[in-house]
């Protein structure tokens, strides 16, 4: 018996070692380049811009300075950047909106010749490597290490959702690689003392007060305002953070919180909460469910006959299937997604056209902010004039430019001063109702009862 098992043990441990050695010695796996960027030769001259992109947003569109006389060191063929994105799994629908933004921005920059890097005195194209982390933070960590060790990325681009960013930002910090990420409103990640994390995306500290100041600005008649507020707070760190900010800012802006209840992440039973809100006469609903919780919430509101005058349901309605699945019951719901394809900033039209050609619809909500991440990074690389990660990090921190999401500057904690547009589902379409100068439609308010739509 002993010998038999010893034999097996020897063979298998041998196999383990063999495989480990093979893997270690094997060339790095070919990354999935996204998209087919048609990257020009590094020596190719810059292509003239095709749209009115902001000069600071697309460095490739600016005229490179005259070559210096001193011999520049040999330039790398590409500037390597990479992202671990949840393309499948529970955050897959978010990740699928994020990836095209990165891909289109890289393509646009490369079509114009790449990014001028002073150190090499030439334009160098970007090469984006994207891995699917299956919405699993542990796998995301592994992919981030691969991007660092094998692809030698000069910067990371983030995935989607706080669960994923919490793991990946820590790796960026550990490896001292600049990280630009969107699709998470959690402010707590920015309070960890991380130096390499930057997020051009509205955070809960902005959305808390914005909820009420925007409402007051859009509903000027105080008697018409939905002053009785129901907060359905997710049992998560983001839920606790956002819920506390809503409560604090409701009072400051003349609103009364009549119901503040918690629900477990992923729940599909909101009956008790809805009944409490209905009994308290709540007129505003503030909640943070992802899918499928968000759709379940609305369906149960329909069944129980409770229609708040105003609903802000962050995350779940960002999915493109929201209106398809809920029909007219999905209308009147508002969200804070950080962007809308109707924004009047340079580059948005081109992004929409590319998206329309590929996906048969204008760019999705998270695509604009992800596009902006690459714009910011490209500008920072050009400003740094080198591929040194620390210098790129410093250049990102000093960002002051206009992107497809509007003006962007960063705070010392890596959060950004960005617009926080309020979007509303109206007749099955996403319309921007705030800021007023960007709005595609006025706020549809108050929401009529579900049975009268």
């Amino acid at each position: 018996m002993n010998e038999r098992y010893l034999n097996w043990a020897v063979r298998v441990i041998g196999l383990v070692v063999l495989v480990t050695i093979i893997v270690a010695c094997a060339p790095a796996p070919t990354a999935t380049p996204v998209p087919p960027t048609k990257a020009p030769e590094p020596t190719k001259a810059a292509v003239a811009p095709t749209t009115a992109a902001p000069t600071t947003a697309a460095p490739a569109t600016t005229k490179p300075p005259e070559p210096t006389k001193a011999a520049a060191p040999p330039a790398p063929a590409y500037i390597e950047i990479g992202a671990s994105i949840p393309l499948t799994g529970k955050f897959g629908s978010l990740g699928q909106q994020v990836r095209p933004g990165y891909a289109y921005a890289v393509k646009d920059i490369n079509d114009a010749g790449g990014i001028y890097v002073k150190e090499y005195d030439k334009k160098i194209p970007l090469r984006l490597t994207v891995y699917d982390d299956e919405s699993d933070p542990t796998k995301a960590v592994s992919k981030m290490e691969t991007l660092f060790a094998d692809n030698k990325v000069v910067a990371y681009l983030g995935g989607a959702a706080s669960d994923m960013h919490v793991a990946t930002t820590a790796i960026a910090e550990k490896n001292k690689v600049p990280y630009l990420g969107i699709a998470f409103a959690l402010n707590a990640i920015h309070q960890k003392g991380y130096k390499y994390l930057f997020s051009p995306f509205p955070k809960s500290v902005q959305q808390g007060p914005d909820t009420f100041t925007i409402l007051n600005a859009l509903i000027l008649d105080q008697s018409q305002r939905p002053l009785k507020v129901a907060i359905f707070q997710e049992k998560s760190d983001w839920g606790a953070e956002q819920g506390a900010l809503w409560k604090e800012n409701a009072v400051k802006n003349g609103y009364t919180v009549v119901v503040a209840e918690e629900y477990a992440v992923g729940t599909t039973n909101f009956v008790d909460l809805i009944n409490k809100a209905k009994a308290a006469g709540a007129e505003t609903l503030l909640a943070l469910p992802n899918q499928p919780s968000g759709e379940a919430l609305v369906k149960q509101m329909v069944e129980l006959g409770w229609t708040p005058k105003f609903s802000l349901i962050i995350r779940a309605p960002e999915n493109v299937t929201w209106s398809t699945n809920l029909g007219k019951n999905g209308d009147y719901v508002t969200i804070f997604p950080g962007w809308h394809n109707g924004m009047k900033f340079p580059g948005v039209d081109k992004l929409n056209a590319a998206y329309q050609a590929e996906f048969k619809r204008p760019a999705d909500l998270l695509t604009g902010p992800s596009y902006a991440c690459v714009q910011i990074l490209a500008a920072a690389i050009e400003k740094a004039g080198t591929l040194d990660r620390d210098k790129i990090r410093d250049a990102i921190a000093a960002t002051n430019m206009t992107t497809v999401i509007g003006p962007v500057t960063f705070n010392p904690d890596g959060t950004a001063k960005v617009l926080d547009p309020l979007i509303q589902w109206q007749n099955g379409k996403l319309e921007m109702v705030w800021p007023k100068d960007q709005a595609t439609k006025p706020l549809a308010y108050p929401a009529p009862a579900f049975d009268r739509r």
Binding site: E3, A9, V10, D132, V141, K143, V166, Y194, K195
Partner: protein, 314 residues
């Protein structure tokens, strides 16, 4: 040509094992790529986790569908103690012991019944813990920036290597002991074992406690390794079912089966993920189905058949 004696053969095998262990120990010194060391960490993590599942599932025949509860309990305890200032090793030990306590909590009542009750009980336990931990501990557990600045992968690798060797060694010692024979006797025929004076309950509980302890230790190592995650993550069902699949792929009830299964599963999945983007899940799923369909006894089953065929030819 004279044949080697069993004693000589045994010595050669021991030397060979020690040599292989030495190579594994030297790995981080030879390979400087964090990506590869990271992959090796995952392999070792799942070698430990699958081997710990196998102590109960393979040797005693009790299907545990809630191994994540033990992994998660170990991870949570270790992480909390370690980040609060405890030394790592007492934290790890505490993690393992908490996992054992949980295991006995569910094992004592469930093992008094037969059939699927234990499987249902463990599944329920892990799901209850998954939801409860998510509700009670919703905050991120991430390493502070100053810790990240000095974070090194090599110590994590060695910790996982030590736990993997410890788990495999414990499994080997167990099946060659009187206790292990009793456990396997219960697996083969519980009534017959009882009639021979082998206490089925006691042997199953011992196997459960050992399985939970090593699962908890593995969870503790994960807590030491991971830079940032929500505590609920470690109680997720994937930790159970990934380990279970590895054992089935490699060969249940053997020492080496879980090792082969873990190596195959982790490396193949990683290579596919790096090369096929989101398509990798379809390819991996198909390969997994093919393995289950055509290799019902896992890789060790095939190895056994080949060995027998070769022996017959000789």
């Amino acid at each position: 040509m004279s044949r080697t004696s069993p004693e000589q053969s045994r010595r050669i095998q021991i030397i060979f094992i020690l040599l292989l262990i030495a190579i594994l120990v030297a790995l981080p010194q030879v390979i400087k790529s964090d990506s590869t060391i990271n992959l090796a960490v995952y392999v070792l993590l799942f070698v430990s986790l699958a081997s710990s599942w196998n102590i109960l599932g393979g040797f005693s025949g009790q299907t545990n569908l809630g191994h994540a509860a033990f992994f998660g309990a170990g991870a949570l305890t270790t992480r909390m103690l370690w980040l609060s200032g405890w030394n790592l090793f007492p934290s790890l030990l505490a993690g393992g012991l908490v996992a054992v306590a949980l295991a006995l909590l569910i094992g004592v009542p469930a093992f008094r019944l037969r059939g699927v009750y234990f499987a249902i009980g463990t599944l329920a336990l892990s799901q209850i813990l998954y939801i409860t931990v998510g509700n009670m501990l919703p905050m991120i557990s991430s390493l502070p920036a100053q810790d990240l600045a000095v974070y090194q992968l090599a110590p994590r690798y060695y910790l996982f290597l030590a736990i993997a060797l410890f788990t495999i060694g414990a499994g080997y010692a167990l099946i060659n002991s009187r206790l292990g024979l009793g456990i396997m006797a219960v697996r083969e025929e519980e009534d017959a074992a009882e009639s021979l004076g082998v206490s089925a309950l006691k042997h199953k509980l011992v196997a459960l406690a050992l399985s939970a302890f090593f699962g908890g230790l593995t969870g503790g190592a994960f807590a030491f390794y991971h830079v940032g995650y929500y505590p609920q993550l470690t109680f997720g069902p994937e930790w159970t079912f990934d380990a279970l699949m590895m054992v089935y792929i490699g060969g249940m009830g053997t020492i080496v089966g879980p090792i082969i299964g873990a190596v195959f599963f982790v490396i193949l999945r990683e290579l596919l993920a790096l090369n096929l983007a989101e398509m990798h899940l379809i390819v991996f799923g198909t390969l997994f189905i093919l393995v289950v369909l055509f290799l019902p006894g896992g890789f060790m089953g095939v190895w056994g058949k080949i060995s027998k065929a070769l022996a017959r030819q000789q």
